[in-house]
Amino acid sequence: SFIRPSLITFSIFRICRSMSFVLPDLPYAKDALAPHISEETLNFHYGAHHRTYVTNLNNLVKDTPNQDKSLEEIIRTASPGPLFNNAAQVWNHTFYWNSLAPNAGGEPQGAIRDKIIENFGSFETFKQEFSKKATGHFASGWAWLVLNSETKKVEIVDTHDAGTVLTDPKYHPLLTCDVWEHAYYIDYRNARAKYLDAWWSLVNWKFAEHNLHAVYELKRRKS
């Protein structure tokens, strides 16, 4: 499956704390998302942008107390600035690669489908609202499907630049869509709406379902 290996690397960014952060493997080959997202885009988006965030992060934590923290700890404790930006972008991009998969897309099944219909009325309404949020976000940022543990509803949230829902404890991320221009410019130029169509053809509902179940499991264990 396209989930398990990537989730293992996703949840354990370092083998042990004294090692530097590593760029996790892409869960699929670089040409696997074509024609929706090209190999060229992945070469730059993953191979240059994501890789640079990892390199910068390692340089910023080296010989500081942060080098013993997990990625999530750094994101949750860093003040606004380069350390937060690079750490958050490392995490955001890994979550993004997992939010996509070859031979995926279309409509969800199971618990995630039920939740979407319960909170949005229909899948079509949800899809339109997500696309609107993602396309309408001005300048760089991310669009997220989250479970809001306060309202107990699935919601659509957008964050700006390197912003991540990880910093808001009530939001449990299920899926994300990168709307920085580098995510779509090679394939779609300025046409962000066309890129969103591509995202819908690649959306990894299995990952979203897994994330939803992980939240339920966490709550079950706490209660």
Partner: protein, 246 residues
């Protein structure tokens, strides 16, 4: 009229072409007159902003900025800011006419995004010039002011590039004039926020939204920043300084 709409009206007069008289519905003019988009446009919106022409051909800034980028940047990105600005202003005017304050407030972010985009790009096109026509270095009062502030033009450029390169996400690097102190300042702005909101007069802006360089330089923003100084129109920057100082 409110202060805000007066300000918009002032700005609109500066930017719009001469207004054609709008015939009344009962006029004896030819029946097809309202199918003329120019007339119909002005009848519904007196505050239309327009996309300025570039002062050079799309290919003129090569090899520093490709024709592909220039075409997209001007015809798609800048044009979208203009169209979205006009749409937001129409909605704002409609809300204002009904004294719908909430409706007015709702349009403010769109006016800032798109109006800022229009202001910034309009300045940007004039800040650049084909390599063959560029003077290569500032002169006169501008050169003196840069040297006073940063010691040398090279030091100014390296400081500018460091700060502008470090912008997180989308934004602009600016050389601006602080009118109060009479001094030049480097200042970066996020998104399309115009430099005026930081209290400075814009003299030279460099766009570092990815759309400004990605097709050619990919993620290598520093390479773009290094190259762009070959096509900076220092004469234009000096003119802006002179105008701002008067």
């Amino acid at each position: 009229m409110s202060f805000v709409s007066k300000a918009f009206a002032r700005a609109a007069r500066a930017f719009t072409p001469a207004v054609r008289p709008i015939p009344s519905v009962a006029s004896p003019l030819a029946p097809g007159v309202f199918s003329d988009p120019m007339v119909a446009g002005f009848a519904t919106s007196m505050q239309s902003y327009t996309l300025p022409d570039l002062p050079y051909d799309y290919a003129a800034l090569e090899p520093v900025i490709s024709a592909d980028i220039m075409k997209l940047h001007h015809q798609k990105h800048h044009a979208a800011y203009v169209n979205n600005l006009n749409a937001a202003l129409e909605k704002y005017a409609a809300a204002e006419a009904k004294r719908d304050l909430q409706g007015m407030i709702q349009q403010q972010s769109a006016i800032k995004f798109n109006g800022g985009g229009h202001v910034n790009h309009s300045i940007f096109w004039t800040n650049l010039t084909p390599k063959g026509q560029a003077s290569g270095a500032p002169a006169g009062k501008l050169a003196k002011a840069i040297e006073t502030e940063w010691g040398s033009v090279d030091k100014f450029i390296s400081t500018f590039n460091t700060q502008t390169g470090a912008i997180q996400g989308s934004g602009w690097g600016w050389l601006g004039l602080n009118k109060e102190s009479g001094r030049l300042q480097i200042h970066t702005m996020a998104n399309q926020d115009p430099l005026s909101t930081a209290g400075l007069v814009p003299l030279l802006g460099i766009d570092v939204w990815e759309h400004a360089y990605y097709l050619q330089y990919k993620n290598a923003r520093p390479d773009y920043l290094k190259a762009i100084w070959q096509i900076v129109n220092w004469k234009n920057v000096e003119e802006r300084l002179t105008q701002a100082s008067s």
